[in-house]
Symmetry: C2
Subunit: 213 residues, 2 copies
């Protein structure tokens, strides 16, 4: 998982994944310019396994986290790389809730259930998953919506290993956190996690698990 090697930084022209648009507009009569990206909306699922009283998350290596946690070195020929001895791959590991982009024309709940199966290996009937709320995941350069769900699962629903789609290059570990340790985990800053995890864990503890924060 975090056996990362040969990290090089090369020119990124015409990225298929990061496509900025330039907005020209007037605000209260004043001309402005802002560079932003159109991005896919997404789903994210807080997963609680009641059979074993654990929260189910996914762990993966995130290049965007890694590159924002290291220094980039430069060789005499101008090429850029990261010194893996100094900055090992685990710096890019994150703990996240099961999630996926909304890129299919089907009910969002079904997309959430597909991600639960692909990433975590749970076949979750519709009555065991419900929507919590929706929000934005960013405001500066990308402002996609994210829909957050809550799924209560049991060991009986675990039908596959999970781990993502290997053919698409996904390498995902399914990890379990004892529910009683959720807030200790949330505030352990040695563990990379997006703020949505802090929100989801706090929501779970106060709205479902009923434990005082």
């Amino acid at each position: 998982m975090d056996d990362i090697n040969d990290v090089k930084i090369v020119a990124c022209e015409n990225s298929k994944y990061i496509k900025p648009l330039r907005l020209q507009y007037t605000q209260n009569g004043k001309k402005k310019i802002w560079d932003a990206m159109k991005v896919h909306d997404s789903v994210v699922v807080v997963v609680y396994n009641s059979s074993r009283d654990v929260l189910v998350l996914v762990r993966q290596f995130r290049p965007a986290i890694y590159i924002n946690s290291v220094e980039i070195s430069r060789l005499e020929d101008g090429s850029q790389y990261v010194d893996i001895g100094k900055y090992p791959g685990h710096l890019g590991l994150t703990y996240e809730f099961c999630a996926g982009i909304i890129d299919k024309d089907k009910p969002i709940l079904d997309i959430a259930r597909e991600e639960l199966l692909e990433e975590c290996g749970y076949a979750v009937p519709p009555e065991c998953i419900r929507r919590i709320t929706g929000f934005r995941t960013g405001v500066g350069t990308a402002g996609a919506r994210q829909e957050m769900f809550y799924a209560e699962v049991t060991d009986e629903m675990k039908v596959a290993a999970g781990g993502g789609i290997a053919d698409e290059g996904e390498m995902i570990d399914v990890v379990e956190i004892p529910a009683a340790d959720a807030l200790k985990f949330a505030y352990d800053e040695t563990i990379n996690k997006p703020v949505g995890v802090l929100y989801g864990l706090t929501w779970f503890m106060t709205s479902v698990y009923q434990k005082p924060v």
Copy 2:
């Protein structure tokens, strides 16, 4: 504030603000490529005014939210625009906590205090502000850290109007939410807000305000 007009989308080459890097690396022996961005870390501050029992947030037009909330139209000559009659500017308004990037070599707490003065008009002594925790604001293309603070302010600390730095083009409204309405506000999905606001409000209600969620 949301008097937005003449929205055009133009080619965005060599953006000063969105600069993707291409990472080449091997993970568990498998060669991979990922496009990501180096981005500034930032501070964000949950602000509670105890004189009037309100939370203090900022409201602004965010082009990245707007462009992800509208359809882009195309003229015969290929130029792209947004139909303001159909998609008025208020679609891009967000409610956020006071925040700013860490781009100066000074203590992070001082950067948070500067933002409180610039955006909200409060001169906050160091003993009235404390760190809550840190997390990542994204994982896909940008993985910056954000440090979240909590400031308890009073009307006596309000020394300026706030609103950001006009010379830098900032147009920011300071808005107050009655603390008792914080969760109603958090779950009002007609209001655009990043997930960090949901986390911060939930944290405030459960850790400071002591109101059951």
